[in-house]
């Protein structure tokens, strides 16, 4: 068993006892494999943000438990050790708004410094994470507030990567970026995953982004896990996914429409390459 993160019957209720009481997670069982890239998809209010905040102990489950490497992250006394936050790095949505230091290097060093590392180790990690997110060395001494939005976001992601977490969770890392910026950020996340072998969770509602990088997908809907599996397995249920108000990749929509018109194609196609191959094969098959 190599689940790095696991939840069992995880339930979270917001505002218990007020008129605004709302169940954000209802008996959720999720297992994350070591070293995979897991895409988490869901509507606003489906519980995905609540779920990821349980993974590093920022939120306490109303009931159920969260296991990291098979160990519950909450002690029986109801405490969550700070070390969990260093092992499970969480990058929030629009992380550029959390920058506060005078220089980029100092801001990235905030996490490692909180870990109590030596100055030499901190410097090394800052340099390494700046390289990983594609920030040039000369920027280290500059103010983060002088940067562009996309660059600021890189600094914020580097600030979490510098803690060298075993699990890196990113909430909507590409929100509000232009297509080029999105590609770059996704490439850097993939590079980080390749180089360090860390487990990566990406929350997004862009199916295109997620289908591109994820090994497996977790679809949340209405406080429950709606589907969990490889992109192929998940997108094979394309019509159901549309019915809960989520989008599927454009190419999958094309294939579904073709199927409706009587072409017998695999409904789980989710990249243009797969579609091209499938259509070629179809053409060949019907020539004979």
């Amino acid at each position: 068993m190599s689940y790095i993160l696991e939840t069992r019957g995880l339930t979270h209720v917001y505002g218990a006892g007020t008129p605004f009481e709302r169940k954000a997670l209802d008996a959720v069982d999720v297992a994350v494999n070591k070293g995979e890239i897991l895409g988490v998809i869901g509507h606003t209010g489906s519980g995905k943000s609540t779920l990821i905040q349980h993974f590093n102990g920022l939120l306490k489950p109303t009931s159920g438990e969260v296991l990291l490497d098979g160990q519950p992250i909450w002690t029986p006394e109801g405490k969550c050790p700070r070390a969990v936050r260093f092992r499970v790095g969480l990058v929030f949505q629009y992380p550029e708004y959390q920058l506060f230091e005078e220089t980029i290097a100092k801001d990235i060093a905030f996490g490692p410094r909180n870990m109590g590392l030596s100055q030499a180790e901190i410097d090394e990690r800052v340099a390494e994470s700046m390289r990983l997110v594609g920030l040039s060395e000369e920027l280290a001494g500059q103010s983060p507030f002088a940067l562009s939005g996309g660059q600021k976001r890189r600094v914020a992601i580097a600030g979490v990567i510098a803690m060298r977490p075993d699990v890196l969770i990113l909430d909507e890392p590409t929100a509000g970026l232009d297509p080029a910026g999105r590609d770059e950020i996704l490439n850097e996340i993939e590079a980080y995953h390749r180089e360090t072998g860390a487990t990566v969770l990406i929350v997004s509602h862009s199916m295109e982004d997620i289908a591109r990088v994820a090994d497996r997908l977790l679809v949340m809907s209405d406080a429950h896990v709606f589907a969990c599996g490889t992109p192929r397995e998940v997108f094979a249920r394309g019509e159901e996914i549309i019915s809960i108000g989520l989008d599927i990749p454009e190419i999958t929509k094309v294939i579904l429409e073709l199927r409706r018109r009587g072409f017998d194609l695999d409904p789980s196609i989710y990249t243009v390459e797969q579609a091209v191959a499938a259509l070629r094969a179809y053409k060949e098959g019907h020539k004979c």
Binding site: G15, G17, T18, P19, Q53, N56, L58, R82, R85, F86, G89, L90, V91, F92, P95, Y97, Q98, L99, F100, F110, G111, N114, M115, F145, G159, V160, M163
Partner: protein, 269 residues
């Protein structure tokens, strides 16, 4: 911790209390505060408490939420009670120890003080619970209207107030987000000495200020784009109008407050 802030919180509804004109509610509120300070004995305070219970009942606001509004002032309530119990001078003391003494009169004063503060806070929370911030500032602007003659910037003030009230929940949400983000990077707000704790606030305050300025800037641009240029020539979508429910509220409150004042001042009840 931040969830306890109920100032400016509004519970939408369609009760007669909600439908009341904000100006009428504001005037009644002020009258109630004045009456509260003129009440004297069990009967007059009891009558006012009953009045408030009736208002809460009619408004459909859960009583629990009103009690929650009292939580932030709990310390002040306890503090006043303790001071009054121990320091009210009297001829006859029930209990004495050095400079501390308890008298029957002191207990009564403390009791009425506590009731007075609680009613005061509960009354004002009811006003904000049942009146949207926009209505409230509209009402205030209309009531302070005559001051415009003396070049008092009534409209500007009420606009500033609307904006401030509008942004309280936004900034609370923002603060919670920033706290979570810094915690995720291992920030520690709960240990260390005073100096360390103050320094631990920097990672929260800097982003919060930056975001407040950014929001202010964006809002100013948005207002300019819609050609906002202050009070002159500005009309309202919702005109304030005094209707039947307002007359009923005025009559009900007026009679009751008069009774309280007569009982309290005239008969000392």
């Amino acid at each position: 911790m931040l969830n306890d802030i109920t100032i400016g919180q509004f519970f939408p509804g369609n009760s007669p209390v909600h439908r009341c004109d904000p100006r009428v509610k504001l005037v009644i509120e002020i009258a109630m505060i004045v009456t509260l300070f003129l009440a004297k004995g069990l009967v007059s305070y009891g009558l006012l408490a009953l009045y408030l219970f009736a208002v809460i009942k009619i408004s459909d606001i859960p009583a629990k939420m009103v009690v929650r509004g009292l939580k932030p002032v709990l310390f002040i309530i306890i503090f006043t009670a303790v001071l009054n119990i121990f320091y009210t001078p009297a001829d006859h003391y029930l209990w004495e120890w050095k400079f501390l003494h308890i008298s029957a009169a002191g207990l009564w004063v403390a009791f009425f003080m506590v009731v007075r503060i609680m009613l005061l806070i509960a009354g004002t929370t009811m006003l904000t619970y049942t009146t949207s911030p926009i209505e409230l500032t509209d009402g205030l602007e209309s009531l302070l209207g005559p001051l415009k003659r003396f070049h008092f910037p009534v409209h500007e003030l009420s606009m500033m107030m609307s904006i401030a009230l509008r942004f309280i929940p936004t900034l609370i949400e923002e603060t919670e987000k920033i706290i979570s983000a810094q915690k995720a990077r291992g920030a520690d707000f709960d240990s260390g000495n005073l100096l360390q704790r103050i320094r631990a606030m920097i990672p929260i305050l800097v982003p919060l200020f930056i975001s407040a300025f950014r929001r202010a800037d964006e809002l100013a641009t948005a207002m300019e784009c819609r050609l906002y240029r202050g009070d002159v020539g500005r009309t309202r979508m919702k005109q304030l109008r005094v209707s039947t429910v307002d007359y009923q509220a005025i009559a009900f409150s007026g009679v009751l407050f008069a009774a309280v004042i007569i009982l309290g001042r005239g008969f000392g009840l």
